[in-house]
């Protein structure tokens, strides 16, 4: 497709369960970002990939959160032992460039995660 896609669009899970959220970036975009957005807030940076490697994972809140991008395209955000506080909209974005910071990011529609 032409844009960033994210699946699933909605995920409801129970506390303590494991979830995976998928992001398919725009073809050719080397940079990929994960954010978390709570209602009424701005996006909160989680992790940034340049190619296959995580260039900056300083935003991951704790070791329950992990993300991979094994082939430099699709990325998966993994959350172990989910907690109710993990409930949020998870956004993925991609961009051109080498992390130089002046390329705009293109966002997917997000995955709404609800932890009961």
């Amino acid at each position: 497709g032409a844009g960033v896609s994210q699946t699933p669009s909605n995920k409801v899970t129970e506390k303590g369960k494991y979830v995976e959220l998928r992001c398919d970036p725009i073809s050719g975009h080397t940079a990929l970002y994960w954010y978390r957005q709570s209602l009424g807030q701005g996006p909160e940076f989680l992790i940034y990939f340049q190619g296959t490697g995580a260039a900056d994972d300083s935003g991951l809140p704790n070791d329950r959160f992990f993300a991979v991008r094994p082939e430099g395209s699709v990325s998966t955000l993994k959350i172990q032992r989910t907690e109710r506080g993990d409930s949020a909209m998870y956004l993925c974005a991609s961009s051109l460039g080498l992390g130089l910071g002046y390329n705009e990011q293109f966002f997917g529609p997000g995955t709404r995660l609800t932890v009961l």
Binding site: G40, G42, Y48, G101, Y102, E104, Q105, P109
Partner: protein, 116 residues
């Protein structure tokens, strides 16, 4: 600390009137500044950016923004508002972290309501 501020939670304007959504920043070095818009139930969309050069930048949907270095501001403007401009607007600045990677710091957003 590096930060972005959007001092107004909400801005209300009448259709046809000019609109301004304010943004100020505090960063070290030269900033790369961005505006994004989030329509209800849709993903974030890039509007415009300032990297260097002319202080007045033009973007999508008739929006423009003026970079003011002395006031450390990057206010978003449009000469004549449309009802369809009603959305959540985010200002963001690209900063360099300790690992010399760039990432975006986001404002909390301003809800724009254009009344018919």
């Amino acid at each position: 600390a590096q930060s972005v501020a959007q001092p107004e939670d909400q801005v209300n304007v009448a259709e046809g009137n000019p609109l301004t959504v304010k943004c100020t920043y505090s960063v070290s070095g030269n900033p790369y500044l961005f505006w994004y818009v989030q329509y209800p139930n849709r993903g974030l969309q890039f509007l415009l950016k300032y990297i260097t050069g002319d202080n007045l930048v033009k973007g999508s949907y008739g929006f423009e923004a003026e970079f003011n270095k002395s006031q450390t501001s990057f206010h978003l403007k449009k000469p004549s508002a449309l009802v369809s401009d009603s959305a959540l607007y985010f200002c963001a600045v690209s900063v360099t972290n300790a690992g010399n990677n760039r990432k975006l710091i986001w404002g909390l957003g301003t809800s724009l309501a254009v009344n018919p």
